[in-house]
Symmetry: C2
Subunit: 423 residues, 2 copies
């Protein structure tokens, strides 16, 4: 095993604390993923990537920086990766999925903040995420009150740039967002010293969309009965997409899909064909937040889809054809981003339609709405989702949780009762 | 005493529940306000208005409706009252300040929602607020996630129209807001059948601003030592401004100010000259949310100002001169509204400046930051406010609370310790 300690020292990580984090992750990963029966062989790559989460991938980023490139950290699917890549920079999703960093955050942020925000902020405060340390700039957005205001505080610790996302889908909202993209483009150009040209942007968009198409392919494969891949593994693949190299990642996902298509042709599944098929919908799940999927699948169900920012809301949207000029491309990117069916918009009825469509086309037996505690937007939408599903007689369970383990027993009891009710 | 029951029946109030509410309020009011020593005589009017909160003022609204006028309900200082009045309609701030209606709301809304939102929503669900019942239309805005998404659910129970408020103060954000004002104007015209002309709007703006100037005058009077009016009474005056008739209200506030100026000339105060002078800053306080002021003043302090939407953020902003055309007036109203130093904006450093200015010019001994639990925007800003005040050595206390009485003892202990520390 390579020793990355000098790299981590250069990144000003708190080595002692970081060691504690790295001691927890592998056993957690092993018990969650490696015990699954009949795993696809192609998952080996993703196991490797997670094993090297603060190692080899970081090394790639540091090499990129050493050769003059920039690394740009982000938190949200509204920040367009292709615009960042067109500036010769590498976009990375930042660490945000563990209780480990929450206590650090709670020394500064309000405690009634969602675990994802606290976790990411705590990683910066505690200097335990090499990705944020390696980032030349962090790009935030205004998609929720918690993040919007956290970024103001984060900016006191790390260079941060915030772009506005409108709240209603109006023509002027689109204009505003397009102008924000132009502002982001200028910021990225100033940061990187690279001019974003039409050619560079088209190339970057093609890379990002190849990745998204690969994830769409995987998503479609999960319609099969039996499902050839567990929900845990499929979720992991999407989670890895936020920090792995995009080109390599797409290749590996396509290789996985080929294996899975073969399995489906042979009628092989990750679980029996009669396992309850669950759609998880709601707040995103950052690595290593596998709690709900694990409880569901340990109890014999199989998660067939994530209507989430670590799921359909990340990979469903592609740009429309444009005349190829830079401004037309930016407009198409604005449209692609604003098409995201996120609870930050009012209204956001398209999301309800998405859930109903997924429930039907993925032959779902029940929908579990996952809400990070204190996330107002999704918590309120859950009320509308519940109503819409009741009208279609689709079983529904509302889960609110954080990153602690304290509610594991209670969650398991509720999930078991729900699965019992479905069967 | 007039019997308003037939009016309440016409408004489809839940009479039994409403009776329970009306049984609680008078004794609460009496114990909070009427026991204060040396009250200004002119407060008698405001006592009367509160006593008739669901009676005489409602009767005026119903008479207005009977003669063909409209009543428009609103929740937030970003909705311009003058635009509503220019359509011949009466704007009213909706009931939102009591624990009484919270349990109703919690049957639908997420519990982790701020008390103000739950209270107002619960008033609609439980049919206990005659103002919302009398409203032909409710106007919401996108100033926080909780309200933004609550309005979607509220719209299932009452006609609701939502206008967008931008999150960054950019030129395009201003354009977007101006376009939202134009949309609101069209909506109000369609609802009322009255064309909003430049003349009507100028007249309405003059009425609204006369009210604001009266409140500014009262605010300025509180710089005196001793302060001639208690914080409780001054807060009440601002609270009443949201539902009383604007012209009459301004007259009564000016009459109060005359009395207070006389007191100051004679060196008379509502409390001894050496009482600790406190600025309250943060979330708004709707009637009957007098909890924090009462605790502070019962403990011997005097509240000299509210940096709040039921305080300076309501009355500090006036329109700039314009050429008088309708569009120029709308632009000036857009600027006035967007000048509001609300935590919904990122960044919102002007608010920190306001607090520092108030602390200096009102000779404040300490600042109490009041945060409704689960309000992300103000909770995060409290972190910045605390830092800014620490740099100026201004004592600071952060309070987070809801509408229940459960934390009264704890709050009193903390407030007493804070006041002890100041003295």
């Amino acid at each position: 095993m390579v020793d990355y300690r000098s790299m981590w020292t250069d990144l000003d990580l708190d080595l002692e604390k970081h060691d504690m984090l790295l001691q927890v992750l592998p056993s957690m990963y092993e018990s969650t993923f490696l015990g699954q029966e009949n795993r696809p062989e192609a998952m080996e790559y993703f196991d490797f990537v997670v094993g090297e989460i603060h190692g080899l991938r970081l090394k790639e980023l540091m090499d990129h920086k050493a050769s003059g490139g920039k690394v740009i950290g982000l938190y949200c699917v509204f920040v367009p990766e292709d615009l960042i890549m067109a500036a010769g920079a590498i976009p990375v999703g930042l660490c945000a999925g563990t209780q480990f960093s929450v206590p650090d955050a709670e020394e500064v942020l309000p405690r009634n903040t969602c675990a994802l925000i606290k976790s990411s902020f705590g990683f910066k405060l505690g200097r335990t995420c090499p990705y944020v340390q390696a980032s030349d700039l962090l790009i935030g957005e205004t998609t929720c009150d918690g993040k919007k205001k956290m970024y103001e505080i984060l900016a006191q610790y790390h260079p941060t740039y915030v772009m506005e996302v409108p709240q209603k889908k109006t023509p002027l909202g689109r204009e505003l967002f397009l102008e924000e993209l132009r502002g982001l483009k200028a910021k990225l150009e100033a940061e990187s010293g690279v001019a974003i040209t039409a050619e560079r942007l088209a190339e970057a968009t093609a890379v990002v969309e190849a990745k998204r198409r690969a994830l769409q392919r995987l998503h479609d494969i999960r319609r099969a009965r039996p499902v050839p891949i567990s929900g845990l593994d499929a979720l992991l693949v999407t989670q890895v997409s936020f920090y792995d190299d995009s080109v390599r990642f797409a290749e590996k996902v396509n290789a996985l899909c080929e294996e899975l298509e073969g399995r489906t042709a042979r009628g092989e599944g990750a679980a029996p064909a009669d396992a309850s098929r669950i759609l998880v919908s709601g707040s995103p799940m950052a690595i290593p937040n596998w709690k709900l999927h694990r409880i569901l699948e340990d109890s014999g169900a199989l998660v067939v889809g994530e209507e989430s920012c670590t799921g359909t809301r990340y990979f469903s949207y592609l740009v429309a054809e444009s005349d190829g000029s830079l401004d037309a491309q930016l407009g198409a990117i604005a449209d692609r981003q604003l098409d995201t069916h996120c609870a930050c918009f009012t209204p956001n009825d398209e999301r309800i339609e998405d859930i109903l469509t997924l429930a039907r086309d993925w032959a779902v037996d029940g929908v579990v709405h996952y809400n990070l505690q204190f996330c107002h937007t999704f918590a309120n939408e859950a009320v509308k989702v519940e109503k819409a599903l009741a009208e279609e007689n689709i079983p529904f369970l509302r889960i609110e949780s954080d990153y602690s383990d304290e509610d594991m027993g209670q969650l398991k009891t509720r999930v078991d009762a729900f699965l019992e009710m479905i069967r």
